[in-house]
């Protein structure tokens, strides 16, 4: 990629007393790129963010952020990056606007930027409310607004939409895409596959502290599309799934020639299924790591009415 690399991890590992939480993590992040760290609970996502942002020391390996080794970071790095942890709080008794103004003065940002960010996050009409009275989604937007006040080069988000309803999550996604357009690099963690698929330029599939795959969601889905299948809906409203056998291909071309096909879809696996195949584990927000049922999900396609 021709863009500038802002973050670089090289074989980073982290051991908590006995437990190996991260193992040999290597990756890069470029300007204007959204990188998703995808993994079930306990995979090591938060640990990774803490190490990169200098809140935690790695056991081995090297992390460079904006050209500085993460072991040599001091507080001034936070003037150039934004961090939203999985439990960032707000000053509940202060108003929304005051919350931002405090951080504007810490980060030496002009007051006009506060108004700008309030408007962009749709919080302008709520600016006089105490922050503790905001709804969950509004609160999350405030946390995000605070993190981008100083237009950071890299934004770190630890599960920015966990616990939000789909509509609010979409609002957050739109904000992130806009920030990306402005050239901000975004590193986010999530255990939501759909979120990763629609938001991220590249995703790292993380399982038990190891990266199983790192590529764009599309590329991963294609890579794991081992048994190519096509779902065809016919004029008579029946649905058939065709594979790549010569027989099926002949059948498909006949159907097409006879103009009987209403819709035709290729059935690549979803990111969820890719994760299962790549790691052998299923993503499950509630239960954490759980052994996937390979039988049921093998191939990752619906087998309904295969035409013989």
């Amino acid at each position: 990629m021709s863009q500038k690399i802002v973050l670089e991890l090289n074989a980073v590992s982290k051991r908590y007393k006995t437990e190996l939480a991260l193992k040999d993590i290597s990756l890069t992040l470029c300007e204007g790129e959204i990188l998703g760290f995808l993994g079930p609970s306990g995979a090591g996502k938060t640990t990774a963010i803490k190490i990169i942002t200098g809140q935690l020391r790695q056991t081995s390996g090297e992390a460079r952020i904006l050209g500085t080794d993460s072991e040599n970071l001091d507080a001034s790095i936070y003037e150039r990056i934004g961090v939203v942890s999985d439990q960032s709080g707000v000053y509940e008794k202060m108003t929304v606007q005051r919350n931002l103004e405090i951080f504007a003065s810490i980060l030496e940002v002009p007051k006009s930027r506060v108004t700008e960010v309030l408007q962009k996050t749709g919080l302008y009409e709520h600016r006089k409310k105490p922050a503790g009275k905001l709804s969950k989604g509004q609160g999350q937007r405030l946390v995000l607004a605070r993190a981008v006040l100083h237009k950071p080069r890299i934004l770190f988000l630890d599960e920015p939409t966990s616990g939000l309803d789909p509509a609010t999550a979409v609002q957050i996604h739109e904000m992130l895409l806009e920030l990306k357009k402005e050239g901000m690099a975004i590193f986010l963690t999530t255990h939501n596959m759909e979120e990763a698929a629609c938001l991220c330029d590249r995703v790292a599939l993380l399982c038990r502290g190891q990266i199983a795959e790192l590529d764009s969601p599309e590329a991963l889905c294609i890579k794991y599309n081992t048994k190519k299948q096509y779902r065809v809906r016919l004029e008579d409203k029946t649905e058939v799934t065709l594979t790549e056998t010569p027989e099926d291909i002949r059948k498909l071309s006949e159907l097409l020639k006879e103009n009987k096909v209403v819709t035709l879809h290729s059935c690549e696996p979803t990111l969820e299924q890719v994760f299962l195949q790549a790691t052998g584990y299923r993503l499950n927000a509630e239960q954490g790591i759980s052994q996937g049922n390979n039988q049921k999900h093998a191939g990752g396609t619906r087998r309904k009415g295969v035409v013989r």
Partner: protein
């Protein structure tokens, strides 16, 4: 310049936290109120004229309360409140350093503790001369600094406001109650001289009774060494854990 701005921003946060938190505000209000009430009780009992001994015990009461409630307890509550609400980590990842946070946090509690101690003079109606006032001010400033640092140490170890007040208990027991009961219980009189609050109380008592009080070498050593020990303990705890353990 940047550091001063950030320190001031933290102080502004703490100012609002003090002003809006009734649990924190009761400290200073109670201290002043209690001394005022005691003064009127003493006055009533002795037909309007307070004896120097009564005046001295009023000051000792006020100072012990003030140092512990508004120094130790307030600072530790302020820090643990931020941990509870998950805003401490946010500040630290918004480029505030440990030193800036420390200075910003203790600024108002420190000024408040010194201010209230000075306020005790007019409240109790104690008249001091220049030299007496200088000793009173100097011991007050060192004492207030010591209690703010002790409050910070407790703040480092406390996870939330509840555990902060638990951890404050033994500290208050030693530094507040021992000087307070030193006049009543014989054994305590020997110990109180080794405590900074004890030295403060002793100095205030002498001054209140119109005697010229000179801090001896021993008292000075107690005051300064306890400040230094507190600072060292703070640095040790901070080096080990930061404000919040991971």
């Amino acid at each position: 310049m940047k550091a001063i701005k950030k320190t001031w921003a933290v102080a502004a946060i703490k100012y609002e936290a003090i002003a809006h938190n009734m649990a924190v505000l009761t400290g200073p209000l109670m201290t002043i109120g209690l001394v005022l009430v005691m003064r009127f009780i003493y006055q009533d009992k002795s037909d309007g004229i307070i004896s120097p001994e009564a005046l001295a015990s009023l000051l000792v009461l006020g100072i012990s309360l003030n140092m512990c409630m508004n120094g130790v307890a307030m600072v530790s509550t302020l820090i643990s409140e931020e941990k509870e609400k998950h805003t401490l980590r946010v500040l630290m990842t918004a480029s505030v350093t440990g030193g800036e946070y420390f200075a910003g946090t203790i600024l108002f509690p420190f000024l408040l503790t010194v201010g209230i101690n000075l306020l005790f003079l007019p409240i109790t109606g104690c008249s001091v001369n220049g030299a007496g006032f200088a000793v009173y001010l100097a011991t007050t400033v060192i004492g207030a600094a010591t209690s703010c640092v002790i409050g910070t140490i407790i703040g480092i170890y406390a996870k939330n406001q509840m555990s902060a007040s638990m951890l404050c208990m033994p500290v208050l027991f030693v530094f507040m109650l021992i000087p307070l009961f030193a006049g009543l219980i014989e054994g305590l009189e020997k110990i109180t001289g080794f405590l900074f609050t004890g030295v403060l109380s002793e100095a205030a008592g002498e001054i209140a009774q119109g005697r010229v009080y000179h801090l001896g070498a021993f008292q000075t050593a107690v005051l300064l060494s306890e400040l230094v020990i507190a600072v060292l303990l703070f640095l040790l705890a901070y080096r080990k854990n930061g404000y919040e353990k991971d």
